[in-house]
Every structure is written in structure tokens, then in C-alpha cells.
């Protein structure tokens, strides 16, 4: 499988803290990668380098479809087709739904004059086809601060899908969601797979990641502690390994005993 993204020898230090150390990470095309790890394992830092928000320390390399990318910025990453769905944080609460959908990528002519009608009608269409908003209380002009957690997640994911992202990164998308909302969110992830796109699914919750991921990467204290194809590892085995990682910071002991 050709790699969509390849990250080589990625390190990132913030002052004296090494958030990532020599990480090798890749995502294949039409692959869903589950990224697991404890708080502070470096999941978010890795993702923020991939989206151009942080720059990796010198020596790290990033390839997109086998092209080396230098100085990735947020705008450049979005142009390439890397889209992030951040839990909660990525919506502007006081703005209307349509302004959130088109945040940072407003439809406008070459003088920058907004096509408000176009954005409203597209939002209206997305609401019924993608987000599954049927309540008449919600219109494209509704303010997103009033939405429930699941609705907000739907907005964020719909936004990513609408802009033809090739790689969608979900940063703890199920945090704070109810059971039915979580189910809906996982359906979105399977939808990404069916649409032929790739995704990185970051979560604490192994029960959410395991069913939808093709491959699972475990990060621990800034390094890749191990990775598995999903069909090679059962949920129970994965749980055992993760608790081993949590205790020892490595999977080596487990691998040796298994061999």
C-alpha cells in the first residue's frame, strides 16, 4: 500500500521537555490508523506537526505522497488535504453554523467579498445529508454554542469531509459524548474508510479505536512503543499490552515472551 504520509525521525522539544523522540510514523492510503497513548505520550504533538501548527526539530522529515514537504504551515496542510477534527476547541461558539463550516475557507470572490447565500445553502444541504440535523430549531444561522456535544462533533467532521480532505485527523473525537453520539461518531469514521480517504483516530479509549482502525500505533513518552495490524491482535491482547506499556514503557518484554 502506497503511503499517503510518511514521517521520519520526528523529534520535538519544548524547552527542556522532549515531547517526541525520533518517531517514525506513516499512514497508508485508505487506511484508518488508531493512535493510542496516555496523556503526555505525544499524540497531539505528533498531529500538530502533521498539520503544520508546530514545526518538527531539525532532522525530521515529512513526505506527502512521496513528496518531501519543507516548512509545512496550517494553510499548506489544508491545501494538501490534511484536515483535523478537534474536540470542542475548533468551533467558534458565538458564530453561526455556516460561518463555522467555512471557517478559514470562506467562499468569496477575488475581492474577498463573501458569498453568504452560497455558504448558507451549502450548509443547509450538508445539514440534511451529512450531519443528520432534522430538528427545525437548527438553521444555518443558528449559533453553534447552543449545540450538544454530538452535534458539534458532527459539524466538525462534516466540515472536514466537505473540503475533500484526503487525511482526516480525529483528535479524541469521542471525549464527552454520550453513548449514542459516540456510536454516530464511529460511524463517521467508517464513512471515511468507505469514502476512500485515510484517517488518524486518536483516543484514550481502546474500545472505540479497535473496532474502526486498520492499524494501531501505540505511543509512549514520546516514542513509538509498538504497532499492530488490527487483524493480528485481539482486543484482549491489546489491553494487556497497553497495561504493560503503561508499567514499563516498552512492549519488548511482551514480544519476547510471546516469541
Amino acid at each position: 500500500m502506497a503511503d499517503l504520509v510518511r514521517m521520519r525521525n520526528i523529534s520535538k522539544t519544548f524547552g527542556e521537555v522532549a515531547a517526541l523522540r525520533n518517531v517514525e510514523f506513516e499512514v497508508g492510503s485508505n487506511e484508518i490508523v488508531g493512535l493510542l497513548g496516555d496523556n503526555g505520550a505525544g499524540k497531539s504533538t505528533l498531529v500538530k506537526i502533521l498539520t503544520g501548527y508546530h514545526q518538527a526539530d531539525p532532522g525530521g522529515e515529512l513526505y506527502w505522497k512521496d513528496q518531501k514537504i519543507d516548512h509545512l504551515s496550517v494553510a499548506k496542510a489544508r491545501d494538501l488535504g490534511i484536515e483535523v477534527v478537534y474536540q470542542e476547541r475548533a468551533l467558534a461558539d458565538l458564530q453561526s453554523l455556516w460561518r463555522n463550516i467555512f471557517m478559514g475557507r470562506e467562499l468569496c470572490n477575488r475581492w474577498g467579498i463573501l458569498d453568504t447565500e452560497g455558504m448558507r445553502s451549502t450548509t443547509q444541504r450538508l445539514m440534511s445529508t451529512q450531519m443528520g440535523f432534522t430538528s427545525s430549531a437548527i438553521t444555518p444561522d443558528s449559533v453553534v454554542g447552543t449545540f450538544s456535544g454530538g452535534e458539534r462533533q458532527g459539524v466538525a467532521i462534516t466540515r472536514a469531509l466537505h473540503f475533500q480532505a484526503e487525511l482526516i485527523i480525529l483528535d479524541e473525537p469521542t471525549m464527552g459524548l454520550s453513548v449514542t453520539e459516540t456510536k454516530k461518531c464511529l460511524e463517521f469514521v467508517t464513512g471515511i474508510k468507505q469514502a476512500g480517504k485515510s484517517a488518524i483516530f486518536i483516543d484514550h479509549n481502546i474500545f472505540h479505536v479497535h473496532p474502526v482502525a486498520d492499524r494501531i500505533v501505540v505511543l509512549d513518552r514520546g516514542t513509538v512503543a509498538g504497532q499492530f495490524m488490527k487483524d493480528q491482535v485481539s482486543l484482549d491482547q491489546l489491553i494487556d499490552m497497553l497495561s504493560l506499556v503503561a508499567r514499563t514503557g516498552t512492549l519488548q518484554a511482551n514480544n519476547r515472551s510471546a516469541a
Partner: protein, 342 residues
């Protein structure tokens, strides 16, 4: 729309729903207009001889613009979750630039001196605004502190450059700038008022119908997410400061021309009226919401209080008390409205 597609009859509530939605969306604007109308009706009742005549409106239309011209662009800064305290000094700094250019050219060609002085004034204001923006954004200094500093700095520059001396502005009368900025249309409508409306319309357009305005709202609402979504937060903020700077210089020119004299103390009373117009107009100090319409109406609310109280026969000692009370009550009501509606 949906209910029709599903074959259910459209309920008669739908029409009322749209009205309710409109009222909800524009609650702040409706509230602020109500305040103005109530105040006006009260003053009209207390002193019909003043408020039924034209003279009072003529004077309101020519003096309110002195701070409304700055309050309108300042609304953008506040929506972007920043503040500017330096515009009063920038008014005078722009005029100091005019002073220098005019004095250099006046012996040979006074009218060229006026025009180039006017251009220098606007450029000086723009530059001062840009400097505010750069200090705030690039150095990461909170705008409250940064612009408190530049406020003193520019005032100091003005005093040094002008040596504390004023300057007569009568040569401007010989140029087209005079009727264009402070003349009267048909002898009735002051040009200052026309410019204020123009500022408001242009600012409204850019805030609500242009990418720049969309980014101003997003920046103030959630800076972090705006950055994550690729909005150039730094450029947006710097631009809002620059616009206020240029507008302040313009207002400084208009004020000086209105009284035909440049005072080095120009703009010293402008700070509170201008800020009060923005906040009274429903723009949130927490950023992300606000309207040009609200600021425009609020500027006239502030303008009407003083003459209204005097005309109603009370001593002017009451002015500040009522002025303060109206502002505190209005912004409290806004906070309650906002909490109930969202």
C-alpha cells in the same frame, strides 16, 4: 421546509417563528434602538421647545462624529478581542504631521501644504495604528498595556513637535477639503455626519460581507481555533489596529477643521465617549460579537444625554450620574439578554 417535504402541514406558528428568530438574532440592536427612542421621547416630553426644533439635531450631527468616526472602526478591534486606548493621542499625532508638512510648504504654496498635510496626517495615523498592532501581535504584549504606553508616547511626540503651540486652520477654508469634510449639504446636513454614515456602511460591509470581517469575528471568538483553521490571526489584528489609527487621524483633522484651530490637547476627551459607544452598542468585551449598527446608535445615545439633561432643566451636575447609570444598566441588560439567548 422539512415539514412540507415530509407531507406534514406547515403550522401557522412558522411565521411567528421567523419573527421570533429575527427578534432573537437582532435582540441587541432592537434593544439599543429602544433605549435611544425612550431617551429621546423623555427629553421631548420634558423640553419640547428644544427637541422639537432643528437646531439640536444639527448640533448633534456635527459633534457626535468627532468620536463616532473612531468608535466605528474601534468596534472591529474590540470584536477581535483587543482594545485600543491610544486613538485620542493618535488624533493629535496625525495633526502634528499635518502641522509639520503644512508649515514647510505654506510660505510657497499653502493649498498644496493643506493637501499634502492631510495625506501626511492620514499616513501618520495609519503608521501609529500599525505600530500598536505590531507591538500587540508580534511582541505579545496585552493591548491594554501596549496602547496605554503608545497613548502617552504619541501625546509626548505631539508636544515636542508642536512645542505645545496650536496652529490656525483657516488656510484649509480655501481648499475643497473644507466643504468636503465639514461643509453642509443644502445648509442642513453636516458633512461630518455624512462621513460617519459612510464609515458605518463601509465598516458594516467589511465586517459582515467580507473575508476580513469573518476573520475578525473568528479571531475574537476563538483565537486558537481560528489559527488551527488557517485564519491569519496576526494579520487580522494588526489590520484592525491600523484602521483605527487612520480613522483617528481623519477624525483629528475633521475636529480641528471644525473649530479651525489645532490644539495640541486634541483628543484628550475622546477616550471615554468612544469606548462607551462601542460597549453600549452591544459589542462584547470578551470578543466575538458586536455590531457597527449598535455602535452608531450608541454614539448618539451618549451625545443626546448631556443636552437632554440641561434642556430638561436639571443642572449639568446630573449629567455624569445619568450617563454612568445608563451605561451600566444597558450593558447589564445586554449581558442578561446574551445569557438567555445563547
Amino acid at each position: 421546509m422539512n415539514s412540507e417535504a415530509e407531507g406534514r402541514p406547515v403550522s401557522p406558528v412558522a411565521g411567528r417563528g421567523r419573527l421570533a428568530r429575527f427578534a432573537r438574532k437582532y435582540a441587541m440592536q432592537i434593544a439599543i434602538v429602544c433605549v435611544l427612542v425612550l431617551l429621546w421621547a423623555f427629553f421631548l416630553w420634558r423640553s419640547p421647545q428644544t427637541f422639537a426644533g432643528y437646531a439640536i439635531y444639527n448640533s448633534l450631527m456635527s459633534t457626535t462624529p468627532y468620536y463616532a468616526l473612531m468608535a466605528i472602526p474601534l468596534t472591529l478591534v474590540i470584536i477581535a478581542k483587543e482594545i485600543d486606548l491610544s486613538f485620542g493621542s493618535i488624533m493629535a499625532w496625525g495633526m502634528a504631521a499635518y502641522d509639520v508638512v503644512f508649515l514647510a510648504l505654506s510660505p510657497t504654496n499653502p493649498s498644496l501644504g493643506v493637501w499634502l498635510g492631510f495625506v501626511a496626517c492620514l499616513l501618520a495615523g495609519l503608521l501609529a495604528g500599525l505600530l500598536n498592532g505590531v507591538i500587540v501581535v508580534r511582541l505579545g504584549i496585552p493591548s491594554l498595556v501596549a496602547t496605554l504606553g503608545t497613548q502617552y508616547f504619541w501625546r509626548g511626540v505631539v508636544l515636542v513637535v508642536t512645542n505645545g503651540q496650536g496652529l490656525g486652520m483657516t488656510p484649509v477654508k480655501a481648499t475643497f477639503l473644507y466643504p468636503a469634510l465639514v461643509g453642509r449639504i443644502a445648509g442642513l446636513i453636516p458633512m461630518q455626519f455624512v462621513w460617519t454614515i459612510l464609515f458605518a456602511v463601509v465598516a458594516w460591509f467589511f465586517l459582515n460581507r467580507h473575508k476580513f470581517g469573518a476573520h475578525v469575528y473568528l479571531t475574537g471568538d476563538n483565537t486558537e481555533s481560528a489559527k488551527l483553521m488557517g485564519v491569519d490571526v496576526a494579520r487580522t489584528k494588526i489590520l484592525t489596529f491600523a484602521i483605527v489609527g487612520a480613522a483617528a487621524a481623519f477624525a483629528g483633522f475633521v475636529v480641528s477643521e471644525g473649530v479651525l484651530f489645532l490644539w495640541p490637547t486634541l483628543g484628550q476627551g475622546a477616550l471615554l465617549n468612544t469606548l462607551a459607544s462601542v460597549f453600549l452598542g452591544g459589542t462584547s468585551v470578551f470578543g466575538g460579537t458586536g455590531s457597527i449598527f449598535g455602535t452608531f446608535v450608541a454614539a448618539f445615545i451618549i451625545a443626546i444625554i448631556n443636552p437632554g439633561i440641561v434642556a430638561a432643566g436639571w443642572t449639568a451636575y446630573w449629567t455624569q450620574l445619568i450617563y454612568g447609570a445608563i451605561i451600566v444598566v444597558s450593558i447589564s441588560v445586554q449581558a442578561l439578554l446574551r445569557r438567555r439567548l445563547t
